[in-house]
């Protein structure tokens, strides 16, 4: 059992002040929200730095905070691959190369871009799978938050669930995307300023960076790895058996660094929506690049606490991670346990508020993406094609209520049947894995056709499912982990992570090849005029010659990449 937390009056005051500000921002924005574009796209009026921080914060949900800290304890500094390899290059790519098409086409959502570039069926396939996925992710986020509050503070599960859902509902209902974005910026600063003192105290306790590395060497050797397996990111990636992730460098670079990362950061409407809300093309292109700077520093805020926690636990200090029923460490308790251990009342309220803020920003990001895709890509394109703008705004607000209720329902479903959640997440992983191939071909190859894109996506999804059914991570039971098509499985991976990366690689390659082949076999129905602004070779390059070089997307992108490479080298 984890250590319980006793909150003082000062902690409740901090929490309540935060809730009042969150709701106040929604109320203040209410009058500004007059059209559906205001509600769904912030009237395309957001400055680059605000859109950038929201771009980052929308992704900073519960899974990120709790999951990355847990991975820091489980795998050490190699977890930074999810940032320096698995995020930064893709964020630079979407800003420099893809944003001109997303923003320039005036599409109001990612599925709508697919409609403009390909056809209705490709859009609908993407819209339906995306909308379902967002509801489930937001439900899982809510479930995790309520569960954590129950465990740590003894709060009632149902009350926590409904109160957090109603707060998110209120501020999105009132101010739409602008409200969500403004709150994400607030949440960003809260998360940074709430967790920074935790890292500071943890590092002091462990004896600074050198003390941490020495303790992690003990962790590594006692788990049967070479010393340094927890404190070097690349040095042990030569073979899958030499590092705790069980992944070799090629699977890491191709699976995570290319397919999964580009598939998420470049095509997921949850993040892309923030850039689409920016006030100009230049601001939209800078949005992911501005986000990349704090993103690459986040490992120090999120992963390092996990490393400190496992180091101290092994060294037998008075800080220890709790154990699960089966005797293994409960890595998901890193952040809550450290909050309870190091923070006295007062700053404890701040840390806990920061944790709640991260859950709520993840939830709100999903809900705003859901209501936009539902209203524009499903309702307006299939149910009521002649809807007026006022009607769409009303639908958006109703969809927000529906989306929140559906998420609460999902949270209860997660509480009841953990397996259903695992199964759904697996299906979504299959659907998402090939997506980047479709966008890459769509944006850079004008011959790609609607049939090619649609059937390429379907075949890529099938390939992902087949690969999962034919392989199995070492020591995993047949079923949800794979191996359900063949016994014994065709190939055994050294870890689940390696299997995931290779599922993505196969899905991407099959979708890429199938889209090209089917495009050649089918007729291109779109003329060059239709495709202007949607495909690279048919679009005028955006000109920004009046800016200093480091303010242009290309210059800023290059700068960000150099910094990311430097971090990889320093922690090699």
């Amino acid at each position: 059992m984890p250590q319980g937390i006793e909150l003082g009056g000062i902690d409740y005051v901090i929490l309540i002040v935060y809730f009042l500000f969150v709701l106040g921002i929604g109320l203040a924005l209410r009058r500004q929200t007059k059209t559906s574009e205001d509600f769904f796209l912030s009237g395309r009026s957001i400055p680059a730095w605000i859109a950038g921080l929201a771009f980052l914060s929308a992704n900073l949900g519960a899974q990120e905070m709790i999951g990355m800290a847990a991975s820091g304890a489980k795998y050490g500094i190699a977890t930074s691959h999810f940032y320096w390899v698995g995020a930064i290059p893709a964020m630079v790519f979407v800003g420099v190369f893809m944003m001109p098409f997303y923003y320039g086409s005036r599409a109001r959502s990612v599925p709508e871009y697919l409609k403009l570039r390909f056809d209705e069926k490709t859009r609908t396939f993407n819209a339906v799978s995306f909308a379902t996925m967002t509801v489930f992710s937001s439900g899982i986020s809510m479930y995790a938050l309520a569960k954590l509050l129950e465990l740590l503070l003894g709060w009632d599960f149902h009350a926590s669930l409904w109160v957090s859902a109603l707060i998110v509902l209120a501020y999105i209902y009132l101010g739409g995307l602008t409200s969500a974005i403004y709150n994400e910026v607030l949440q960003f600063f809260l998360i940074v300023l709430g967790f920074a003192p935790l890292v500071y105290l943890g590092l002091r306790d462990v004896g600074g960076w050198d003390g941490l590395v020495a303790k992690l060497d003990v962790v590594a050797t006692s788990n049967g790895y070479a010393p340094g397996a927890w404190s070097h990111s690349w040095a042990n990636m030569g073979s899958a058996s030499a590092n705790p992730m069980g992944v070799e460098w090629f699977g890491m670079a191709m699976g995570l660094g290319f397919v999964l990362s580009f598939g998420y950061w470049c095509t997921d409407f949850l993040v892309v929506q923030r850039a689409m809300a920016a006030h100009s093309m230049a601001a939209a292109r800078r949005t992911p690049l501005i986000a990349a700077v704090p993103k690459m520093l986040f490992p120090f805020l999120i992963i390092v606490p996990g490393m400190i926690a496992i180091g101290l636990t092994h060294a037998g200090s008075d800080f220890a991670l709790p154990k699960m029923a089966d005797g293994s460490w409960d890595y998901t308790m890193v952040i809550p346990q450290m909050l309870a251990h190091y923070f006295p009342p007062g700053i404890l309220g701040l840390g806990l508020t920061a944790l709640m803020a991260s859950f709520m920003s993840g939830m709100a990001g999903n809900v705003t993406a859901f209501n936009t895709v539902w209203t524009y890509d499903i309702y307006q394109s299939h149910i009521r094609k002649d809807a007026t703008d006022a009607h769409l705004l009303w639908v958006g607000r109703m969809t927000t209520i529906f989306g929140i209720l559906a998420s609460v329902g999902t949270a209860y479903l997660a509480a009841q049947f953990n397996n259903i959640m695992d199964f759904l997440q697996l299906v979504f992983a299959f659907v998402n894995a090939p997506l980047f191939a479709t966008f890459l071909l769509g944006m850079f190859w004008r011959r790609a056709t609607g049939h090619g894109a649609f059937f390429g996506l379907v075949l890529g999804t099938v390939a992902a499912a087949l690969h999962h059914g034919l392989t199995l991570p070492a020591a995993a039971p047949v079923g949800i982990k794979g191996g359900w098509l063949m016994a014994p499985p065709l190939h055994a991976y050294s870890s689940e992570m390696a299997q995931n990366f290779w599922t993505a690689i196969w899905a991407f390659c099959v979708c890429f090849v199938a889209t090209i082949a089917i495009s050649y076999l089918t007729r291109q129905k779109k003329t060059d005029a239709d495709l202007a602004g949607l495909v690279y070779s048919l679009t005028a390059r955006p000109r920004e010659e009046q800016l200093a070089w480091w303010k242009t997307p290309e210059g800023l992108g290059a700068l960000v990449l150099v910094l990311a490479i430097a971090l990889n080298v320093v922690f090699w």
């Binding site: 106040g24 607030l186 007062g346």
Partner: protein
Amino acid sequence: MGLDIRTPIGLMFGIFGMLLTGYGLATSGSAIYERSLGHNINLEWGIVLLLFGGVMLWLGRFRRAGPRAS
């Protein structure tokens, strides 16, 4: 006129800063700081939050660059 987000951010962290600084002063030397390795972390971090809140308010007040409201 649009809302400049830096103003509410500045206000909120200003309030947090005052709360933590005040609480830190009131509990100075208390046993609760054994947890934070002997640091009066409320006082120290409260001052940081006050400074951050002040900078945000200053930026929001004198450098209007909020969203271009219609």
